[in-house]
């Protein structure tokens, strides 16, 4: 080949590579604008939820979202822009052109001023430069404008919970707040000094924390001694501590018959703590008069469960240790329960000081009414009852025998019949007699009854951090908010709340669990020989479980490569034999 031909071939080769490279770069650049993505996770943890999609699609006017991202943000924030861009693109596509998205890299002073005027703040991060860490300032926030309203996410610290934050803001800006009510006047408020009262007037039912988590709701304190406003989408009764009168119950019934939803959380027990030693007192608020007509009743006592939370117990050495605390059952769910919006993406919840529920056949034949038991204790549960129930943490609990499972929560939906329409008011109670209600609910309503309202109260909810919008994943807060959304028939935010759910734990074999339960039972019965045998059974069960684990571990580690190597040996022998028998 002549030199000329060589040079030509070389340049052709270089041109070919340039063309191929160019095409591939072009494909990648185009791919940035035209792409598709599928979330294969069971719970669609990395996709815009249906609530966000629906909300964006329902916008009536144009919404402008501007993302301010400095181009030179140090890691890990340099990847935030891509996530936000993708997320906003999904909102934009779902809005049918109502949402416009713009990403600005503030370099010029006027862009920086605009970002700050829109509520996005300059934040300081560290980056490594010239062999040392230096502080750099930049923007990574969002501004949202809708009609005359303007909001901002001043800086994005983490992309976790950003969808919830955005959807909540869009919801707040695009529509009127949903009105819900919390029944007041039936709780004993903690004593406050006059100065505290002036700064922060007490709300009913110890529900300040939950109110802080509900910016898309207009939460009102409701006096049920008079007619309840019909524009309330839901009414909540949270762990009442004083009894309801006939008039109050009739007003609640009337409210439900006019299409309002009702949530009853607790009501058969009062818990007081004196010097850190909690005790429960049996109590009847009279709500069963209403609930029994809808087929459900809150029974007396507190359910204690072997599957329970933990509490700190002081020891004689002055240190506190964590011990099992049966009055807080940890409730896990069946698949059919988990599909209910109230339990959406929740794997378990703790229900402190929960009373059992009972059911009757009042609505059994009513095809318009659907009843789903949402929460049950395990079989290894029992009832703690009496005039006063000692609830202080301890290392030994008296178990009268397992009586579980107990129903702890139920959801009822449909056109419920009135509890009082056909019932005569007590003689002489003119106020009660004057309350009229339709014989059946005017439209399908939601009623939720749980044996405990403590999971909604300030004492058991983590306080929201200032400026934070996310609800802690899983657990009581997500449950409480799911419940409110379902009652208000507002499911937009339910799907987003419990997104950050951990991978499920491995299953503990049933024989290990059974052995542990037998030990507890034997200890309670103070049967030493039974306890000894149960301990041996447990030991044997654990040994079997450990053997199974080892089998999985070594079986996978050694058996698979061994089988592959064996395949090689067999193949080699077959080939050798074939070669020996080869005849030319």
């Amino acid at each position: 080949m002549s030199k000329k031909q060589q040079a030509r071939a070389a340049s052709e080769s270089a041109a070919f590579l340039l063309i191929v490279g160019g095409i591939l770069v072009l494909c990648n650049v185009l791919g940035l604008f035209f792409y598709a993505r599928t979330d294969t996770t069971e719970k669609e943890q990395y996709s815009l939820s249906k609530g966000s999609l629906r909300l964006a699609g329902a916008l009536k006017d144009r919404m402008e979202i501007v993302g301010y991202f400095s181009a030179d943000l140090p890691p890990p924030y340099n990847a935030t822009e891509r996530y936000v861009r993708d997320l906003l693109t999904e909102y934009k596509e779902a809005s049918h052109g109502k949402i416009s998205v713009r990403i600005v890299h503030p370099v010029k002073d006027e862009d920086k001023q605009k970002a700050e005027a829109d509520g996005v703040v300059k934040v300081q991060d560290q980056k490594f430069e010239s062999d040392s860490f230096t502080a750099v300032e930049g923007y990574r926030g969002l501004s949202i404008k809708y009609l005359a309203d303007s909001r901002a996410i001043s800086h994005i610290e983490s992309t976790d919970g950003l969808e919830y934050q955005l959807t909540q803001l869009i919801k707040e800006m695009s529509g009127e707040k949903v009105k819900i009510g919390i029944v007041s006047g039936h709780n004993i408020e903690p004593q406050q000094n006059p100065m505290q009262m002036m700064q922060q007037p007490p709300h009913g039912s110890h529900t300040q924390t939950i109110r802080a988590y509900l910016p898309t709701y207009d939460v009102q304190d409701v006096d049920v001694t008079k007619e309840i406003p019909k524009d309330l989408k839901a009414l909540l009764i949270v762990q009442p501590e004083t009894a309801f009168t006939e008039t109050e119950l009739r007003y609640i019934d009337q409210y439900v018959m006019h299409g309002g939803s009702l949530g009853v959380f607790g009501g058969a027990i009062k818990v007081e703590a004196s010097q850190g030693m909690p005790s429960g007192t049996a109590f009847s608020p009279g709500l069963n008069k209403l609930l029994e007509k809808w087929g459900v009743k809150i029974k007396n006592g507190i359910v204690a469960d072997a599957q329970c939370g933990r509490a700190r117990m002081p020891t004689s050495l002055g240190m506190a240790i964590q011990v099992p605390y049966p009055p807080v059952p940890i409730v896990t769910f069946q698949d059919y329960q988990r599909r209910h919006p109230v339990l959406f993406r929740l794997d378990q919840i703790g229900l402190p000081y929960v009373s059992p529920l009972g059911f009757n056949d009042a609505l059994k034949a009513d095809k318009d009414v659907k009843r789903v038991i949402l929460a049950q204790s395990t079989k290894q549960a029992w009832i703690m009852d009496g005039a006063t129930i000692d609830l202080k943490s301890r290392d030994r609990w008296e178990v009268p025998g397992y009586q579980g499972p107990f129903a702890l929560g139920v959801a009822i939906e449909g056109q419920l019949p009135s509890a009082f329409a056909k019932a005569e008011a007590p003689s002489g109670d003119a106020a009660a007699a004057s309350i009229k209600a339709p014989a059946r609910a005017e439209k399908p309503v939601h009623v939720l009854v749980f044996g405990s309202g403590f999971s909604m109260r300030d004492e058991f909810l983590p306080a929201q951090q200032p400026g934070a919008h996310e609800v802690p994943a899983g657990g009581g807060a997500a449950f409480a908010l799911n419940a409110i959304d379902w009652l208000a028939q507002d499911s937009d935010l339910i799907a987003i709340r419990a997104k950050n759910v951990e991978d499920p734990a491995l299953r503990v074999p049933s024989n290990v669990k059974e052995a542990e339960n037998t030990i507890r039972q034997a200890v309670q019965e103070q049967d030493e020989s039974k306890a000894q045998k149960a301990l041996e059974d447990r030991k044997a069960a654990v040994v079997v479980w450990e053997q199974k684990k080892s089998m999985y571990k070594w079986g996978n580690t050694l058996l698979v490569p061994f089988a592959f190597a064996m395949f090689g040996v067999v193949r080699w022998r077959v080939r050798s034999a074939r070669r020996k028998n080869l005849k030319l």
């Binding site: 791919g31 792409y35 996770t41 890691p75 490594f128 999985y552 490569p561 592959f564």
Partner: protein, 236 residues
């Protein structure tokens, strides 16, 4: 295409006729097993996400080991000249050899299916991310193999081919770990070029066409370079 497949089949069988495939696969599985199962019961979670991270790391020596001899050995022994005088095109040779290595990678992945199956019998495994993770590994592994074929086309020494492709794969795999030390403008480009950036999304269960296009581009460009490298012997 038939000729490509014929070469692929011949090479694929070749792997199993010698000890390379067995040594590589068995070592890979042993190391994987040790590192995956040892902490598995301590973590107590029904997930195989850790397996994918580990496999992506283990592919770093595995992919070069599978590809180092594909062209380098043929060059050293001179059989490449015989092969290229046959009625096959250079592209068919490159593609055939690449597909053979990819087939072996698929066998390797198949052997690890025992892990998610075991995990699913111990707890509730989400199969979506598990399958998507396998897809991510096939793409990332495919890209590493293509780089390996390219390195093998540059030299007639298998060791040189191994180390060259290992260094390039190492750079692609770990460049995202050094972003903090790079100027911000460059950091974003380097991050986008890194395997991690595209692999992580798929390993967690999100299949995104941008990530797929990226890996296919790396494969395509590496094979195109390998083709030109092989072809260059005609005029260099």
């Amino acid at each position: 295409m038939n000729r490509t497949l014929t070469i692929a089949k011949r090479e694929f069988r070749g792997y199993f006729n010698g000890p390379v495939a067995y040594i590589v696969v068995c070592l890979f599985l042993l190391v994987m097993g040790m590192f995956f199962w040892s902490p598995f019961f301590i973590a107590n979670r029904a997930t195989v996400r850790g397996m994918f991270d580990l496999m992506a790391f283990l592919l770093l020596p595995t992919a070069p080991a599978l590809t180092m001899g594909l062209l380098a050995e043929e060059k050293r022994t001179g059989t490449i000249e015989i092969l290229l005088t046959m009625p096959v095109r250079d592209t068919e040779v490159i593609l055939g050899k690449y597909l053979a290595a990819f087939g072996l990678l698929a066998v390797l992945m198949l052997c690890t299916l025992a892990y998610p199956l075991s995990v699913s019998s111990l707890g509730h495994l989400d199969w979506g991310p598990a399958l998507s993770g396998y897809g991510a590994l096939l793409l990332e592994g495919g890209a590493m193999l293509a780089i390996g074929v390219l390195a093998s086309s540059w030299t007639d020494n298998q060791l040189v081919a191994f180390f060259t492709s290992a260094v390039i794969c190492f750079a692609f795999l770990f460049m995202s770990r050094f972003l903090l030390f790079l100027p911000p403008g460059v950091a974003s480009i380097v991050e986008w070029l890194s395997f991690d950036y595209h692999f992580d999304d798929m390993a967690r269960g999100v299949i995104d066409t941008r990530n797929v296009i990226y890996f296919l581009s790396v494969i395509g460009f590496s094979l195109a370079l390998a083709f030109r490298s092989l072809e260059s012997r005609r005029w260099s």
